[in-house]
Symmetry: none
Subunit: 182 residues, 2 copies
């Protein structure tokens, strides 16, 4: 549940082949603090954690992104396409069972006339995709464009956006987004 900052810090320190004292010296903190953090006996302030990571160097974003356990896991096949959409808009998620994915990959299918909703979507991250079949109208931040098979798109997910199938046949898209939205 918790982040296990201690294990993360220990693993990055060892990756860089540093002792607690050496890292402490580079970071301008005490070795004792490194020890306490690695044992999870304190929850460091963001300020001191940043100082520590500056000694490596590594950004806070990277620190919280790295996967410590490194559970090599492979997901294959049709089974991994888990349905999460509605009737008109079918979303199939790749590797849904995998914990802590860095990516959401979807096969999206829009029935003729179907759309992602009346309100535009807006969330963190970036997303993009490629149209496989059919024609889709993509509205991003006020401007619209119709995309056909083979065409692609990419934008910041925080800009309000909406998809709508304006063709007479079903439309299919492969999309990806990071950080994961599902």
């Amino acid at each position: 549940m918790s982040i296990d900052v201690g294990a993360r810090l220990r693993s990055v320190r060892l990756i860089y082949g540093l002792s607690q004292r050496e890292l402490a010296r580079r970071a301008g903190v005490t070795n004792g603090l490194i020890s306490l953090i690695e044992q999870n006996r304190v929850s460091p302030s963001v300020g001191s954690l940043k100082k520590v990571l500056d000694g490596v160097p590594m950004s806070l974003a990277e620190f919280f992104t790295i996967n410590v356990e490194e559970t090599p896991q492979i997901f294959y096949g049709d089974d991994e396409l888990v349905e999460i959409g509605s009737d008109d808009v079918s979303l199939r998620l790749v590797a849904a069972r995998r914990p802590a994915r860095q990516l959401t990959i979807l096969r999206e299918r829009y029935a003729p006339g179907a759309a992602t909703g009346d309100d535009a979507l807006a969330h963190r991250g970036e997303e993009g995709g490629v149209v496989i079949r059919g024609r889709i109208e993509l509205t991003v931040g006020g401007t619209s464009r119709v995309l056909g098979p083979g065409e692609a798109y990419y934008f910041s997910s925080s800009i309000p956006h909406r998809f709508r199938n304006v063709g007479r046949e079903p439309c299919e898209i492969i999309s990806a987004s990071a950080p994961p939205t599902f």
Copy 2:
């Protein structure tokens, strides 16, 4: 230089349309703490920052990844599919011109018999994709499997991996990886 945790938190809170008190209630902390953090008058412990973000909800990784300035940029269409592959393996990159992408999205085309190379690939991050057409043999960490249209895959890119078209027709895949490899 510093991270300006305060401004980040404030912008996140406002994106979600919450007051300091409402966020505090959801997070299980006091409104005063939210106020102090947003003014950068304290450097919150990782533990409390996590509690706060759980109220949104947002991960620490996302929190430190978000770009406060947010340059809205949209990439559309066929133009954005930039060719980067060889003769047998064609890779077209979505939104190649966009700086600092968080995602690599590729349309990959393998001629019959073509492969990603004699040596297996291994790099940081995660990747996945969906087969659109043809049949591809995917080898990840010693085990192989042949995937057909509609099937999907997902794995840690650090595991050595290799793609090979084992069918008689061209194979097409839409893939995504993060962090970006191209």
